[in-house]
């Protein structure tokens, strides 16, 4: 039997030492009627060779983004991942360790989390970051829950331009609570600031804005800040693309209270949408209300530096029904990928990734808008992703382009933007690929 070390002989020997005749004796306290009566309907076991062949075949039934030229984005992006990232996360020292409960034999995990927290604080300008959440959507929901706990306001204002999945997950997470969600409509690809101002009142506990937003546009965060913080109670939550932070204002520059987002872009593959990881960073005053694990530096008796899980009294295993969240397992290994990625790309590289993505996206935007039947969906500044209006149904365009070897983009029609397409460009796309794409679109 695979993956079991003991031989039948050893089993017998152990049963004898336990003091029973056979295995069934160990179960004799369990009523007979609880046991399965018929055989399970599972397929015959495969050998390693057979399953390797089978899974490879199944993977080949998919078309991957290396086979096609991909302009898919909408939350998950095809950025370049250096080989060294996957090398490190493939080390069993990291991937087959458990949560670092015994600090003295988990310094590798604890130290990288401390470095990860530092990197996220540097990018966002916040004072503290946790060790990761499940994904951007659940991080946004946890941020809303924190704000509700902190301010006790009964209303939250959410830009209608945050990622649709974030909206869905927030809705699920706050469904048991008596909280009203107001979606602030958009105006020309950005949150309508006048509408936001109209909705601000004393009952608002949080305002959630994403920048770049779902349509790729950069929000006017300075103006939004002055509206949100004219209200003494409300917390300003911003969802960001961490790569964009190499170029654009740090959330601390527009006084965000909580910064969350999807971290996949930092050294993680697209993974068909999972595993991903969410990040969660706040100002100092909210640290004791944060969800998730936090690593802190300390020392041993000899004064040697080391790292431990800290402020655990916030967490479910200590505080139970009074915990700040129910989260236990997070996405640690994905956060490690991000840590190694940021270390490798560093100050210059991350900036270069953001710069190239931006320049290439703008190049493609201009080229596409020159084609008959395509026009800009809005006139707001954007980062690496943009929406275009199409005369033909996006669904048909995507289908046609697929036949030519392109993933043309995401059809925005099901998300409420009729006859619009969302097109993302990362540093991986070449000028030749984009020219060919435009060429084929044109025909």
């Amino acid at each position: 039997m695979p993956f079991i070390s003991n031989t039948d002989e050893q089993r017998e020997q152990m049963l004898k030492e336990i003091g029973v005749q056979n295995f069934e004796d160990l179960l004799r306290g369990i009523p007979k009627d609880l046991f399965i009566k018929e055989n399970l309907n599972l397929s015959e076991p495969m050998s390693e060779m057979e399953i390797a062949k089978h899974i490879t075949k199944l993977s080949e039934k998919n078309v991957n983004t290396n086979q096609f030229v991909s302009f898919l984005g909408a939350g998950i992006y095809d950025h370049f991942v250096p080989a060294a990232v996957n090398y490190i996360i493939g080390r069993p020292e990291f991937y087959s360790a458990y949560t670092p409960y015994q600090a003295e034999v988990s310094q590798g995990t604890l130290q990288f989390i401390y470095e990860f927290q530092t990197m996220l604080c540097e990018l966002t300008g916040m004072d503290v970051a946790n060790a990761s959440m499940y994904d951007g959507a659940t991080a946004s929901a946890e941020a809303i829950l924190l704000a509700i706990r902190h301010t006790h306001g009964k209303k939250i204002l959410i830009s209608s331009l945050i990622h649709p999945s974030y909206k869905e997950v927030i809705k699920t997470y706050i469904s048991p609570l008596d909280i009203e969600i107001v979606y602030i409509p958009q105006k020309d690809g950005r949150t309508d600031i006048q509408e936001l101002e109209n909705q601000m009142d004393g009952s608002v506990s949080a305002v959630l804005i994403q920048t770049p937003n779902f349509l790729g546009c950069i929000e006017d965060m300075k103006s939004i800040d002055s509206i949100v913080h004219s209200n003494k109670r409300a917390l300003f939550i911003t969802a960001v693309d961490p790569i964009s932070l190499a170029l654009f204002s740090a959330p601390s520059e527009y006084n965000a209270d909580i910064v969350i987002g999807e971290g996949q872009v930092l050294g993680n593959m697209q993974n068909f949408g999972g595993p991903l990881f969410g990040f969660f960073a706040t100002k100092k005053n909210l640290i004791r209300k944060m969800p998730g694990r936090i690593v802190g530096a300390t020392h041993d008796k000899e004064g040697q530096k080391g790292y431990v899980l800290t402020l655990q009294v916030r967490e479910q295993h200590i505080r139970r029904d009074k915990a700040t969240s129910n989260i236990c397992t997070n996405e640690s290994l994905c956060a490690l990928a991000a840590t190694v990625y940021i270390a490798l790309m560093g100050k210059k590289g991350l900036y270069e990734v953001a710069r190239q993505s931006t320049i290439k996206a703008h190049y493609l935007f201009e080229k596409i808008c020159e084609i008959d039947g395509f026009s800009p969906a809005n006139s707001s500044p954007f980062f690496k992703e943009f929406a275009v209006k199409t005369e033909e149904k996006p669904k048909n365009i995507i289908e046609e382009m697929k036949k030519k070897g392109f993933f043309a983009g995401v059809d925005l029609t099901p998300f409420g933007y009729k006859n619009q397409m969302l097109i993302a460009v990362t540093e991986k796309r070449t000028k030749a690929e984009m020219d060919e794409f435009v060429n084929v679109l044109n025909n």
Binding site: L15, L34, A52, G108, T109, Y166, N271, V308, I359
Partner: protein
């Protein structure tokens, strides 16, 4: 030597990446007003690829991990993760898929998910499974949300959830997120749910019961059907925390014993590695009447085509951005396909035998208060060593010196100075014997040389760390000195 962070290894101007030149001759200023561009540049490391590799390999060597040694962390099911599972990392048709690709370009991925949904339904005896939750607690959230919506949908007035005092911390935390008051009932002298105590609290306002089975003492709840009947009598729902499913595989199915909702921990039971704290893999199975509440989408098949079904009548909505932790699902799928029914049974058998063997060999040194119907883990007590001023924490730290990871300690709360030990099925008798030997030695040391334990560990990369100081002088990120910051800002 003081361990350095990656930031302290940074050298101005050094790079660790290689990107092609941008072929388009444009500047950012061509597109944006300068006021939205970042003013203070982030302090990020400047290291070479070799610097980074040395650094992360150096710190990785300070970890304990399953290939290095025994990891008897109770409730965590730290079994060996077969290396064939990692084939997923090498297949671009799995890692390089975008969640919004057209359905006809992801048929292989959907087939894997579809078959895994079905296999998990079969193993658990449930009508349908959603793979969207990505962790145990995340699955609990989805499950509790189904309980909440079930009652809301029926117009039931429910305010409370019952659970035993041995429940995982995530159970009360999840219930609280749904506004439920937690009713904790005491375990009986066998460590099981006390049926009489349950009967006393059962009332119309009970939304459900969260049961872990086998429970956190490793003890099988033999009266699970009676519990379910009592809960069902007030239209409550039975939730089973599946953290300990390993003990039941191929022998008992939650769906056959009165459970309405069960969750899976793919990273425990189904051999996907835990990644130092994640990614895990969750999933929930439900009985027929609850299928309409599952998170959307689930995978369906029609005319040999697999597709996302978003049309779930009373769905609780989404709990994750996309479809869950796909790569973790593929690992679990590989494991299941290799084991089949017989293999699953062997898992449960060997987990139970290993546990009972360890318990038998250790009970004279570390008393085990609850022994009847112990399955895949047991909980010993270190209380008798208190007379030597030795705590369970000291025993745990001393185990690290012997090259073992410590068991889960101080949980469940109902055993004083608890040591929760779960060997899993993959460990050999020789490993168990060497662990037994170390534990016996430690019990002798506790008596003869308690200082040894109180000063432990001594053979680890760092000595016992001061957690109180960590809270008192909070240091949760590296402090760059002013000079570094200023130089960075000038860039």
């Amino acid at each position: 030597m003081e361990p350095k962070t990656i930031f302290e290894k940074s050298v101005k101007g050094r790079i660790g990446y290689s990107l092609p030149e941008c072929e388009i001759d444009k500047n950012l200023e061509d597109f944006f007003p300068t006021e939205i561009l970042r003013k203070v540049k982030p302090n990020l490391p400047e290291v070479s690829e070799l610097d980074a590799m040395r650094h992360y390999i150096e710190i990785s060597a300070k970890n304990h991990f399953i290939e290095k040694g025994f990891y008897p962390l109770g409730s965590c099911t730290m079994k060996y993760n077969p290396k064939i599972n990692d084939i997923v990392n090498t297949l671009l048709g799995l890692t390089n898929l975008h969640p919004y690709q057209p359905e006809d370009t992801i048929q292989g991925a959907l087939q894997i998910m579809y078959e895994l949904q079905n296999d998990l339904s079969e193993i658990s005896g449930m009508a349908e499974v959603s793979l969207q939750p990505v962790a145990g607690a995340h699955s609990e959230f989805a499950g509790a949300n189904i309980i909440y919506n079930y009652h809301k949908n029926k117009g039931n007035q429910k305010t409370k959830i019952i659970m035993p005092d041995s429940a995982h911390g995530t159970n009360p935390a999840t219930s609280a997120l749904h506004g439920y008051e937690v009713v904790e009932i005491k375990s009986n002298e066998q460590g099981k749910v006390d049926i009489d105590a349950l009967k006393q609290v059962i009332a119309k306002d009970i939304a459900g019961f969260m049961l872990t089975n086998p429970n956190t003492l490793g003890v099988f709840e033999t009266e699970v059907k009676e519990i379910a009947e009592i809960i069902h009598s007030v239209d409550g729902l039975m939730y089973m925390d599946g953290a300990n499913l390993n003990a039941m595989l191929g022998y008992i199915r939650p769906g056959d014993i009165g459970v309405d909702i069960v969750h899976f921990n793919l990273h425990k039971t189904f051999s996907t590695p835990h990644g130092g704290g994640g990614p895990g893999g969750g999933g929930i199975g439900v009985i027929k009447k609850l299928v309409r509440f599952l998170p959307f989408p689930i995978i369906k098949k029609e005319n040999d085509k697999y597709y996302f079904d978003y049309n779930i009548k009373n769905s609780i909505g989404k709990v994750h951005s996309f479809y869950g932790n796909f790569l973790v699902m593929v690992r679990a799928y590989i494991y299941l396909k290799m084991l089949g029914e017989k293999g699953l049974q062997r898992v449960a058998e060997n987990a139970i035998i290993n546990t009972n063997y360890l318990m038998k060999k250790l009970e004279n040194y570390f008393p085990v208060p609850y022994q009847k119907d112990v399955m895949h883990e047991f909980v010993a007590s270190g209380e008798k060593f208190k007379k030597y001023d030795v705590k369970t924490l000291d025993i745990a730290k001393r185990l690290l010196d012997y090259g073992f990871h410590a068991p889960t300690i101080y949980f469940p709360l109902i055993v004083h100075e608890a040591l929760m030990i779960e060997p899993t099925e993959t460990e050999s008798k020789e490993t168990l014997d060497s662990f037994i030997e170390a534990m016996i030695k430690i019990s002798e040391e506790a008596e003869s040389n308690p200082e040894k334990l109180k000063n432990a560990p001594e053979n680890t990369p760092v000595g016992r760390l001061d957690e109180t100081a960590a809270i008192k002088n909070l240091d949760v990120k590296f402090s760059f000195d002013d000079e570094i910051t200023e130089t960075a800002n000038k860039r």
